[in-house]
Symmetry: D2
Subunit: 346 residues, 4 copies
């Protein structure tokens, strides 16, 4: 009963197979492998962006930090939410890679509105050498609380960014889950909605460790390549990244894996929703559930072997609600979901 | 006929098998996987170092840059050779990760002597706030020209470092090949020879992408962990790094793969040695050959489909010798070696 | 009628005289001047801290950034208020000098309470490699809104820091004004109150450009010296910094200049206090006044040639209050103060 | 008898007077002082460069590091000589400010030829993501060994830089001394000779602490301003920098001070030249002398109270020559020079 994160499951079979298929003979290193040529074409086709600059790295933090560094000057500030992964979970990788940029926290928790964004940008006095200068707008889609910006919301945010001449970067660690939730195409959720660059996550959705970084404006290409190497994120045996991404893109594996994960989370929510004392903190839209349950229920789940994110301790008043995060990856079994629901409802 | 590098071959079957074996069910992320516990124990046993702090990263440059940054202050200089990988091939990753340390170039090409090292350290005036301060000594083993420091040479270098209170870091991207060449144990070639920290390379010797970083003094552990995360080199699905290293360590796969690679290179040298106009630039000791051949021979090899490192161009005087680098990985076929020799000798 | 800042007035005569007295013959460079020996002794005596490490730099931002960098690891966060100078007015100098540390904003506007500080530190999960690690507590005294922490408040804040093993740094750009406001000694307002390091500002209080940095724990000395040189803040003709500080310390010039400045501000407040529609935003305790007046009054003052900080524009509704910052340096004439009050009251 | 450096003398009277003249009333801070407007116009006129972007900082290292950082990407290398001040004497300030650029050492000691420069640039493979990328050419004029590049030499170097599209930066800490030595105008020795940016030193030539940074291409202006503030090198009481530079520029004080210094050095050389066992290491062209004398002579000079740079120790064989550096600033008295010569010749 592993619901702690979607970074803990195995590879999707299509991905594992592609990885093994790539494992023979010699291949040119450092991204010059023939597989990468295929991946580049596939990604451009998937995103309907024939000119896009496309790269692979192995971790989501690398994708975020390297892409943001390419878009941000050290004296600029990145506009993001208080719960943004880049703010909360990356041990200052953005600050390190940008050479000391700031993050300006906009909105509440995991989402910002276009009005909040405009106010935050306005509050950042441009042209005053003492102050942070305005930098990129960063949006996480699916958000860190499991919510999904609608296309209208995205367009409103990027429109504000464009008003000020600022680029928009999307942390798409769960891009696929959001796409599935919105029922839209990758292009609709990215450049057609005004996004300038994004990460397209594979790791949480059936790969072993691969993320694509996509710049719709290819002028960033060479700088990104230098930053990637300087950050030690250029793989010599790059084919093993390429292969994962190839398996992930072929036959829309990325989409079917995300459909599976979202469906699992829906099944879990459906099972929990009617429990007394179960309270959702946000209506789940993709594959993450933030909710509270009484501590006694947590203890029961814990004793039953369930693993999940918990804010607070098991010790304390039985009736007191505490907060949990439940994430479903594509591989979690329906039996485990049902067992979890059963244990919670006991 | 791929002799361009040992970073282009496939996984050793034992490694690929371990990777696939690990690919089921859920595993705790970020290095908390049970496999990493096994790897940690294996590495400590392999190095006879029960207290060592042991970590995995995916690239050799990450191993070098993160380990050096842990050992170096930004105002210090690292003593290394002019051809050191950290100087020549890492796009300033060491400077980036250390926050602006310098590299002081010691010796000729790929090797330094203890006298040269002592002179270089002496020339670096300690206690003068204007100057670079003395930092770690960096040794690459196998060197970038394919040579191997003897244990006596290593001990002489680390003895100088210790005279000045400086740590020694070994870039062991080809540690296994050197160990095999010297016929010694990992402990003999590391801490028993005075080395304080090292990378133990897997990628070039049968893994897909994994390097161990080992600090014999565990006080560096927590700082290294923070630096690894901040550098975006901590894998969420860490088990896929652990699994590779586990397959690499089990049954001394690392040793048998290196034995194979070194033997392949020996076969290649034996075949080339008697060619007229073949000149070795250094007597090969592991799996790399640096030599010159006349340009006409290069053209013939090139036409035959051979791939290898070349300093210079194919265009020009037929008789003029130009420089080549030939590297054998464990997987290169004897038939390919023989075909190469035949084409060279035509 | 210059009330925009205390960084715009001339040198206190004692300081100017010391500067000119130092201007003859040759003096050893880079802080080895004999004057610096005197300054070091004077500062240690002034702070009753015979072991303190004591340095001079030329700007307040240099003092803050270099001292914080000495106390902060790149993966740590500095606890400061939302209006802290280091957050608002230093163009990322703290991030640059620390190598990418964060600032965690505590309290409201310019002050934090010990409870707020404790909560903020608690919220910063220690030992989780993904998160910011806890770093120094930064206090500005006089605050950026012109308020002064009482000795009790200071002690409460540093006690919290000590509970967590964190150092406290005081931005003392207006240390002298605060000391005068509290009627206490430099030692009482620094190490006796639990402060570990501070800047002791001269520039805003009668010098041309000099700030002392003081570490009560001298183990930071050599690192600070290296950081100062690496930051290009070590003066070759250091005697011109030493001389200013010598004139500033001799005969408690620092104190008499601050007494003058605080008294000027008190005179100004007294004159304005009875104006209808004059509202203080904080009760001034030192030499800065934050207040609102109706826009019509601003226009009148502006037309009369008064210069001061203004949040908002002169254009708009006559009756609407807008916010102003009035700062008195030691040199502002009583006639100018009275003229200002008269113009405001017209 | 102070010949250790030209960073140890007093202010030129014209400079001291300008400083004191500026010391009354209030002046706008942070470079908005009216004096800076005058200085800007004066510098542009002096350099016949009406569009140049012109800034002041207080140290030579700040001028070098900030200007180079503006011209250099972190993955680029700066071409300079092995004895360049930025390589030898700035405690990694260039690496710090550039975010980890390298310095590639060209030529012997303090000078490079255009052929050497071309070879070094050629050796830096462009477009290979693993390698240092080509960055600015840095020239020190007067060199660190007291030599002066001729205008022809300068033009040859900058022509090579332009061939590769690289900017040229001149460290002009002793720009005035070189100008006087060559008998040329500031424009001839800078932009007319192909120099793109430079520092124009005041500190070593009669100021207390001020250096101008000049970009002939004003597009660098805003970035430089941000870098200066972020580096904590923007003075609040900027008028005290402006005033020095104003006094330095008015009536060509910079030139007369340098003429004095160069003449002093010529007098000193003339006195020493005929001593038996006196050997010049380079024919002095400006105000610095590098030479050897037997150790017994050094002892005598030392006992007589002479202060100068010495490579080696006083202890040892009487007859052995050791190396000294003698620098004359404008203020050194003829009596001191003559006393030095007398002591040396005893």
């Amino acid at each position: 009963m592993f619901f702690a994160s979607d970074n803990a499951g195995p590879m999707r079979p299509e991905v594992a197979r592609a990885l093994m298929d790539a494992d023979s003979g010699h291949a040119r290193p450092y991204g010059a492998d023939a597989l990468m040529d295929e991946v580049r074409a596939q990604l451009r086709e998937t995103f309907e962006a024939p000119e896009a600059a496309v790269y692979l790295v192995a971790t989501g933090t690398a994708a975020n930090a390297l892409a943001l560094a390419t878009l941000t000057q050290p004296w600029q500030t990145v506009f993001c939410t208080p719960l943004a992964h880049i703010q909360v979970d990356e041990c200052h990788a953005p600050e390190f890679y940008t050479g000391g940029a700031k993050l300006t926290l906009v909105g509440e928790e995991d989402k910002m509105t276009s009005d909040q964004l405009r106010a935050a940008i306005d509050a950042c006095a441009q042209g005053d050498v003492h102050c942070s200068q305005r930098g990129p707008v960063q949006i996480t889609q699916v958000t860190e609380m499991g919510r999904v910006y609608s296309l209208d919301e995205l367009r409103a945010l990027t429109a504000v960014a464009k008003d000020y001449g600022l680029p928009t970067f999307m942390d798409g660690a769960r891009f696929a889950n959001a796409c599935v939730a919105l029922g839209c195409s990758p292009a609709e959720m990215s450049w057609r909605a005004g996004v300038d660059a994004l990460s397209f996550g594979g790791t949480k959705n059936g790969c072993a460790g691969v993320e694509a970084v996509i710049f719709f404006d290819p002028r960033h290409a060479w700088e990104f390549e230098l930053r990637r190497k300087r950050g030690a994120h250029l793989f010599s045996k790059h084919r093993y990244l390429s292969a994962q991404m190839r398996g992930y893109l072929a036959d829309d594996t990325w989409r079917s894996a995300a459909e599976a994960a979202n469906a699992k989370a829906a099944r879990l929510v459906a099972g929990l929703r009617d429990l007394p004392d179960f309270t959702l903190l946000a209506e789940p839209q993709a594959n993450m559930i933030f909710a509270t349950l009484p501590r006694r229920t947590h203890r029961r789940l814990h004793d039953a072997g369930a693993v999940y994110g918990l804010w607070g301790t098991l010790e304390g008043d039985d009736d007191e609600p505490i907060m949990m995060r439940l994430v479903c990856d594509w591989s979690i079994g329906d039996d485990q979901i049902d067992a979890f629901v059963a244990a919670a409802g006991d």
